[in-house]
């Protein structure tokens, strides 16, 4: 017999035969402030969640439903929802149907079962994902959708909780999360082991340890197994009962009153003390991991039966009968009626429209634009006061690092919702001084020194963005983003897509990177691959090559984040931070005078930079490649070759139209790419020119597929001024 059917029949038989389990030392509802109405309502939500699981399997068997990872055995979640407020943002994992169904009871006018059935059926009317994915989520219920199976949503939950304290410190009271909100993040006992989850526990504890507000409930739904691998007995408790910074609470999720008591205690503690809680809720996983999983293949029968005996519905029924709130016959009747109602709803839901075009699927890759508060356009006097002694330097040419630091200061002055966060960005001013003086100018609430964990930094940004901030996290070196790339790829970039554009996490991630540092650092400080960002739909990738552009582009990136809710990666070429000269020492050609906000020509997304109008050759490049190509261009000119040098500036997305226009009537095209050739931008550019300008001859020069060595060997694998000159001549020969 189908496992779901077996559990269903056992429930009905237990009711019919009066064989319900005792509730042990589970509390009397009245003693814990749980009214008859509230307890019964939780129980009804649990029954609904269960019937929905059964229905999801039936729909899948008919080819009408597309998701069978159920919530059966985890219905204690309904009690957790009852213990929280609808304004407490909840980042839920995938066995949380009962939570969402029951939270909807707090907000009249919703249609939670209909909505969930639309998502089972992948209808474009599914109000959270628009039919793109089966997710637990709801905009009005403050449940951002998660697709994570590996607890990768925990770092952003930490960020969202952290943002509540920051908002209070800054006196910002118009944000999505109220000042007394608590954030909930749920996950299973298996994913609690994931390094991402561990990082989040560590970050929350690290913050709490030093008194930073962190009103957060980590809800570990411990069903004792992850797919087929059992969690060692007692492992979760052993790990978390004494964990630094976390307050541990245990409850039995199979009894709704016990679950409510634990969840209430956790929520109250987090709200009152603004410290993180680890709520360890015992659950059972009924009928396997998902519809396709036959747990009899790897679990002993006795164990499966023992789990089935702990079915939360049995204890819920026992409670109802014990209190005289529902009879066994009434429970059976209600359960059947819920099933029949859901079945009728499902027949209607499967007829609702589906997404039928690729454009429909992709419509929410980029979030919608939004109306934002105008910047406060600081007066010159305010700027002067902020800049202090720097004010007198502003008419002097400066290198990129200084210009960027001033641009950041101006942006933070104009937009109070911008926060900067990263390792050493505070009083030290960052490794390269780009965040210099920001801490002194804007304080520790807006210039946040983080712990050494890139997942935490990006999670902080994502979570803060959920609460209305525009974070500008800094990753110290490009090579360090790789340990945390999923926070961009799997989380930040997907949020709009999976929420049909209703949720967004606008941010500008600044990353110092790329090669050519003179003999410093080796690979990890000179990493030269941007491939990790190039295939992420919707992501904006900016790489400035000089200080003037960097300022204009950074302002455009912030505009894109604020007004268009985009996730932006801004890669700053380290080797060009302090570069002042182009052709010879002292020429100062790579410096510029700082343009105040509103001054100078803006650089919009997709705008390319063009130097020269030579028609013999167009060199298409970016970053350090642009700098070297400008050197090469002078040498080529001396040899009678007239070249133009095109700076892509924006690598994701490349505006091909503008690029082709920029190439114009140049006869040949040389692509110069400082990144490793495999996966580099040059690959795409070669394809672009093959498609768009097949009559022109084109070639490329890129870095070798190697890691960067130390010392004088550091640039041997990279394009150089001279190799560019040679490649150009070869192309023209």
């Amino acid at each position: 017999m189908d496992a779901a059917q077996a559990v269903h029949e056992k429930f009905l038989a237990a009711l019919a035969e009066g064989r319900l389990p005792g509730r042990g030392d589970a509390p009397d509802p009245g003693a814990i402030g749980l009214s008859r109405a509230d307890a019964t309502d939780i129980f009804l939500s649990q029954l609904t969640s269960r019937q929905m699981d059964r229905l999801s399997r039936a729909l899948q068997a008919r080819g009408e439903g597309f998701y069978t990872i159920g919530s059966s055995g985890h219905e204690g979640n309904a009690a957790v929802a009852a213990a929280l407020r609808v304004t407490d943002m909840a980042f839920l994992h995938y066995r949380s149907n009962a939570f969402q169904l029951h939270r909807a009871r707090q907000r009249p006018g919703g249609t939670p079962t209909w909505d969930m059935l639309l998502s089972f059926a992948a209808s474009s009317e599914d109000p959270i994902s628009g039919g793109r994915h089966k997710v637990i989520g709801s905009k009005p219920l403050n449940i951002p959708p998660q697709t994570s199976t590996i607890a990768s949503h925990l770092p952003k939950a930490v960020g969202a909780a952290f943002s509540i304290g920051i908002a209070r410190r800054l006196g910002m009271d118009d944000l999505p999360l109220p000042g007394d909100a608590v954030v909930l993040a749920s996950f299973g006992d298996a994913s609690a082991n994931h390094s991402t989850a561990q990082g989040a526990f560590n970050t929350a504890g690290w913050a709490a340890h030093q008194g930073t507000p962190m009103p957060l409930v980590f809800l570990c739904e411990d069903n004792g197994i992850g797919i087929s691998t059992r969690t060692p007995a007692g492992w979760i408790e052993a790990q978390f009962r004494q964990r630094a910074g976390l307050h541990y609470i245990q409850c039995d999720g199979t009894d709704l009153a016990a679950a409510y008591r634990g969840a209430k205690e956790a929520a109250d503690y987090a709200r009152r003390t603004r410290r993180p809680v680890f709520l360890h809720m015992g659950t059972v996983r009924l009928y396997g991991h998902a519809g396709s999983d036959v747990q009899g293949a790897y679990l002993p029968k006795a164990l499966i039966e023992a789990d089935e005996a702990r079915d939360p519905l049995l204890k819920g029924a026992a409670l109802m009968i014990e209190q005289g709130w529902m009879s066994a016959a009434e429970i059976t009747g209600a359960y059947d009626e819920i099933g029949a109602t859901l079945a009728r709803q499902a027949e209607a839901a499967i007829l609702r429209p589906k997404i039928t075009t690729a454009a429909g699927v992709m419509a929410s890759l980029v979030p919608p634009k939004r109306d934002v508060a105008r910047s406060n356009s600081p007066a010159d006097d305010d700027r002067k006061a902020m800049f202090g002694s720097d004010w007198g330097q502003m008419d002097k040419p400066m290198h990129m690092a200084r210009l960027l630091s001033w641009a950041l200061a101006d942006l933070m002055l104009a937009h109070k919702e911008i926060v900067v966060a990263g390792e050493d960005v505070g009083p030290k001013g960052g490794v390269y001084n780009v965040t210099a003086k920001l801490h002194q100018r804007f304080g520790s609430a807006r210039v946040i020194n983080t712990l050494l964990d890139e997942q935490a930094i990006l999670g902080l940004a994502i979570g803060m963005a959920h609460n209305g901030f525009v974070p500008m996290p800094e990753i110290q070196f490009l090579a360090y983003v790789h340990n945390a790339e999923d926070q961009i790829r799997g989380e930040a970039a997907t949020l709009s897509f999976f929420s049909d554009g209703q949720y967004a996490n606008p941010m500008v991630i600044r990353i110092a990177g790329l090669g050519y540092q003179k003999g410093f650092g080796g690979h990890f400080h000179n990493d030269n691959s941007l491939a990790v960002f190039r295939d992420i739909p919707g992501l904006v990738l900016a790489v400035p090559s000089n200080g003037r552009d960097a300022v204009a582009m950074l302002r455009e990136c912030v505009r894109l984040a604020r007004e268009e809710q985009r996730v932006v990666v801004f890669v700053e070429p380290i080797a060009l931070y302090m570069t002042r000269d182009l052709h010879e020492e002292g020429d100062g050609l790579w410096t510029s005078i700082y343009e105040a906000p509103g001054e100078g020509t803006p650089i919009r997304l997709g705008d390319v930079g063009i130097h020269g109008d030579g028609t013999d050759l167009a060199i298409v490049t970016y970053g350090n490649g642009y700098y070297l190509s400008r050197q090469a261009e002078k040498l080529l000119a001396a040899d009678g070759i007239q070249a133009r040098v095109i700076d892509l500036r924006w690598l994701g997305p490349v505006d091909e139209e503008k690029l082709v226009v920029a190439v114009g009537d140049a006869k040949r095209i040389l692509i110069v790419d400082e990144c490793r050739i495999t996966g580099s931008q040059s690959e795409a550019l070669m394809a672009t020119f093959a498609e768009r300008t097949p009559d022109k001859k084109f070639a490329r020069i890129a870095a070798d597929d190697s890691f960067i060595p130390l010392g004088k060997a550091a640039t041997l694998t990279l394009p150089s001024r001279d190799s560019i000159v040679a490649a150009a001549k070869e192309l023209l020969a």
Partner: protein, 350 residues
Amino acid sequence: MSGRKTAIVVAPGRGTYGKSELGSIARLHGQRFADAIAGFDAERRDRGQPTVTELDGADRFSVATHMRGDVAAPLIYTATALDYLSIDREAYDIAATLGNSMGWYSALALGGAVSIADGFRIANAMGLNSQTHGPGGQILMQVVDDDWRPVPGLRDTLLDMVAAIDARADHALALSIDLAGMLVLAGNEEGLAALLAEAPPTPGRDPLRLAGHGPFHTPLMAGSSQKAKAELPPSLFARPALPMVDGRGHIWRRFSSDPLQMWDYSFGHQILAPYDFALSVQVAVKEFAPQAIILPGPGDTLGGAIAQALIGIEWQGMKSKADFMARQASDPILLSMGRTEQRALVTGDK
């Protein structure tokens, strides 16, 4: 599975017992429900009010008399409740009840949250009590075109205007009832006058001031709310026998609904805040997926609003009045008991 259809029942509100309904209570229910009617009459007589039988049996329909709250409400309640009791329960399983405005009191009785007799007491008391308010009333404005599709921007324009007028000194104006294709706006005389003077042209007939109606579902009804809570005790309420969908779209579930909370909602929020009838219909069809929507009498005028609410969510593919009419002609989803042929489908009477 039984061959019964699942239905939801929508109780109509004020303005539904008109000239053509005069005498309908006696005609439709006089014999079968003589006892119930006698009970209602006794309640009225005890209070020194003309009886339902007398009012229904009047020689002619009088707007001045029959449209007044203390007369209209008990007539409407009686027609609704007795129609409900006439539904062929061998043919229909009732999944949920809901109502429009005063119809909420009927829905409470149909859903079993109060007895049929107490439902009459409530409707009767509220009919009188709802006249407890300062100067003001309701205006009906249409926001859909002839095919029952929204006129782009009109609803938002009106609601923005309502908020702006309400913000003026001495003006009170608010949304009272959302009827999908129509908005009922309520306020004091200053607010209503400003609305009539400033509102853009709306489709259909001119904005209509509803005779005998107060500024229902606005804070101007605070006196009515206090009076209701004082004279209608929570003990009238019990857990419902059926789910009920209220004017916020909230579902009062069987077993878990707290009588005290239902009482508090019915005589508090329900009286003082907008009644979103359109949403209540939409929630009911989505969450109960009925095969039929039964509209008990009196009359059938609420049918348009129900249809417009369905069209608003493209329920079962209906996107316009034409779609709805076609559906009604082939396999009616809305069964109005005020229409003879549809009534027969509901009651099973030949």
